[in-house]
Symmetry: C2
Subunit: 237 residues, 2 copies
DNA sequence: ACCTGAACACCGTTCAAGT
DNA sequence: ACCTGAACACCGTTCAAGT
């Protein structure tokens, strides 16, 4: 432990000020045109200090991504408290996912950005490890739900699949839908025909029906769960 | 039509030389460090000429993406000629997708890159329209297959879904798996547990089982189709 | 009509000087 | 011990001059 004049809390707070400034800029403009100078201009201290906290521009963006994944985890955790069967809880998570995406497109897209190699190559080791930790946390939440479904006798996973694989099936599918529908380009036929909300719920049901996860989509009225989740999340985000 | 001293073919060839140089650089290094100067250094003409062909660095990368999507379409088209039921043809496409990804990670990741807003914002209108056209072409190929499955009485799509939605379900799922497993970071638990090949086939089957697409995964031996497709594609890519 | 590359504006990163 | 911002190296893009 090295001696510090500036205490940990001030440091942590300043880091947040930098992240907030970067997020504000991206909201008002776009991520492509973000520069360190533009962050510095919105912050009450100098370039050198910003570089004391973040080793590169990409490190700042990765920091933002981590904050988004962390929020997502909190949101998903609260979704699992939906009072119903496990399949409903999973739907509740999907709804939370799409609601948060609708409420804040900027932060939603940031999570996708974290996956691009350009960022991975320039972010600090420390920040990348944090990203991995947060990713595992999210994965663990999914796996716990799947474990519970198995215990409740709602789900028998195929012999060739493990719980993480089932979790990954639902996660990657959601991620894919959002990645492909991320930009609101109206010129594109695909994006005119598809609607994130509808596709997300529908594909989530397809995968769970494919797994034979009870109750099957046609044997249950999911609308109350969907409506309640939308209601609940709209108060949170 | 404006009069030209340099004919169309020379122009087209030179465009390809620029794209090849950029791809070579990315292969040898990485996309994050690509600069126009580095492309110019690998090409027998000047910066100004490069800018005569591409309006920005991002335009060059989008050009590369388009070339990748175009190759993918050709590959998928050849996969649909697999001699079997439509569900097998769909599996054959998935196999072709994963094989091409394994054979050339660089080009595969480029397709994902095209979806990031940083590129969309700086590429030329012309190049983006081309991207949309190629995307539609790919979508159309999927939709034709689904139509054929319906005609063959193998598939009855749910009343709340359209053929493009079913096509999008399979496409976005594949895309999501590849996006999340794209970088070979061994540090990450998720990527240690998952294997693109296995997940892609397995999730593809989950979605199609969920749709009740005949024959269901447990009622048929898919291995011959998988093996034959791998064999066939390995000769192509 | 087309190509060239010097020139310009801007960006990420560093580090000597200051407090 | 920490902060500052001038300085540096580099990058994307343009455009006057040349052929």
């Amino acid at each position: 432990m090295s001696p510090r004049v500036v205490d940990e809390e001030t440091l942590k707070a300043r880091e947040q000020v930098i992240l907030d400034a970067a997020l504000d800029y991206i909201r008002e403009n776009d991520i492509a045109s973000l520069t360190v100078d533009k962050v510095v201009a919105r912050v009450p201290f100098s370039k050198g200090t910003v570089y004391n906290h973040f080793c590169s521009k990409e490190d700042i963006v990765t920091g933002l991504c981590n904050s988004c994944v962390s929020s997502l985890h909190a949101l998903f955790q609260s979704a699992t408290r939906f009072d119903g069967n496990v399949r409903e809880k999973m739907i509740a998570i999907c709804i939370a996912y799409m609601m948060s995406a609708k409420a804040d497109t900027t932060r939603f897209m940031l999570v996708i950005t974290a996956k691009t190699s350009a960022l991975n190559q320039k972010a600090s080791e420390e920040r990348l490890n944090e990203h991995i930790r947060l990713e595992q946390q999210l994965m663990h939440l999914f796996c716990s739900l799947i474990q519970k479904a198995i215990e409740d006798k709602d789900l028998v996973i195929p012999v060739h699949m493990s719980p993480p694989q089932v979790a990954f099936a639902i996660w990657s599918m959601s991620f894919g839908i959002i990645a492909l529908l991320q930009d609101g380009l109206e010129r594109c036929d695909l994006r005119r025909l598809m609607e994130v909300e509808r596709e997300l719920v529908s594909h989530c049901n397809l995968v769970m029906d494919g797994l034979g996860w009870l109750p099957l989509s046609q044997d249950f009225d999911w609308q109350p769960c969907i409506d309640a989740s939308k209601e609940r999340v709209s108060g949170l985000v």
